[in-house]
Amino acid sequence: MARRRTGYAGTLAGVLVMSGVFATGMGLAQATDLLPDLRPFGFAGTSRPPAGPALKASRPVRLAIPAIGVRAPINPVGLAADGTIATPPLGSLNETGWYDQGPTPGQDGPAIILGHVDSKTRPAVFAKLASLRPGQLIEVTRRDQRVAVFQVDSVEQFSKTNLPTSRLYGDFSRPALRLITCGGRWVGGTTGYADNVVVFATLVTSRRA
């Protein structure tokens, strides 16, 4: 009888130790970022549609991305004190910022719009940006009552400390759009998330609002 009880206890002990080692391993891997990031990124070099005709300059006012349910106001942003592109106030969860030193959406060149992925407590306007796929549409309504329609070329992720500047800012051969938010590992401090998620898109057409 005593012998049997120790048998159960021994089995339980074995199972506990083995599960514990497994769980600890998983936890360590996540904490140190050794597990491969399973989110599907990296659609570089996929579909690039022929660009639609460029529009005259006009400030963007509204952003719509039907595929991920985004409908948000756009306000101009400049540079922050640390030299990065400024962002909307962290409390304005559903607001996006257009970088006003760059072209307006629809002009030749890369128009840049940023939005928060989350606040300290809740998901924000670009929480699902990383799930956009090539071919999906992004609509920017401008002050001139024209809607510039962009098509996603690729969704990519870069280290915040080393952005590919020529790809982000350097292509003036066509009217294009860059949507930027945060992603990757949370490191906190002045960095926040370690990476930026960037959606590259090209103007395909425009229509009256």
Partner: protein
């Protein structure tokens, strides 16, 4: 015979359409255009122009890049010109002056945007690791806890077995 006439008419129509299509829409106009129409200071732009005839060079002038000759090529007057890197942002008139004295203008938008290599701060942390910060902690603490309890239990079981065998 009727079929022949119809064929002829159709052919003539098609030929006419093709001819109309082949002639550049601007061919008889005096015009100037730049590509891209918006450019970062330090980049270059292509100029395409026409003075109605395509034999003579012409002059294109702008505060954005100075003065440049546009030269006949493939039915247009063309040139490529760089905007100086220190050019201020603004809208610049680009003026074509033909040998005949006729002129045309367009606008070149020059940008002087800063291009930060450091990415913007676009998150507060609520979604960090998809809520995984707490999951990671649970895995680590739970896992170590299980190892600890399991070891104790194992030691206890071994001890019990040894005592039972001795008895």
């Amino acid at each position: 015979m009727r079929a022949l006439i119809r064929t002829t008419i159709v052919s003539a129509t098609v030929a006419g359409a093709l001819l109309a299509g082949a002639v550049p829409a601007h061919a008889v106009d005096v015009f100037v255009e730049v590509s891209p129409q918006t450019v970062q200071a330090g980049f270059s732009v292509a100029i395409r122009a026409s003075c109605g005839d395509t034999v003579n060079s012409a002059n294109v002038k702008s505060d954005a890049f100075g003065e440049v000759m546009v030269i006949p090529q493939n039915g247009f007057l063309i040139a490529s010109v760089g905007v100086p890197p220190d050019k201020r942002a603004g809208n610049f008139v680009v003026r074509l002056t033909c040998p005949s004295g006729r002129t045309a203008t367009t606008t070149l938008v020059v940008l002087a945007m800063n291009q930060p290599t450091r990415g913007p701060q676009t998150g507060g942390g609520a979604l960090a690791n998809g809520g995984g910060d707490s999951a990671t902690r649970t895995l680590l603490i739970g896992g170590l806890g299980m190892v600890g309890i399991g070891s104790l239990l194992g030691a206890f079981a071994l001890h019990r077995r040894r005592t039972a065998n001795r008895a």
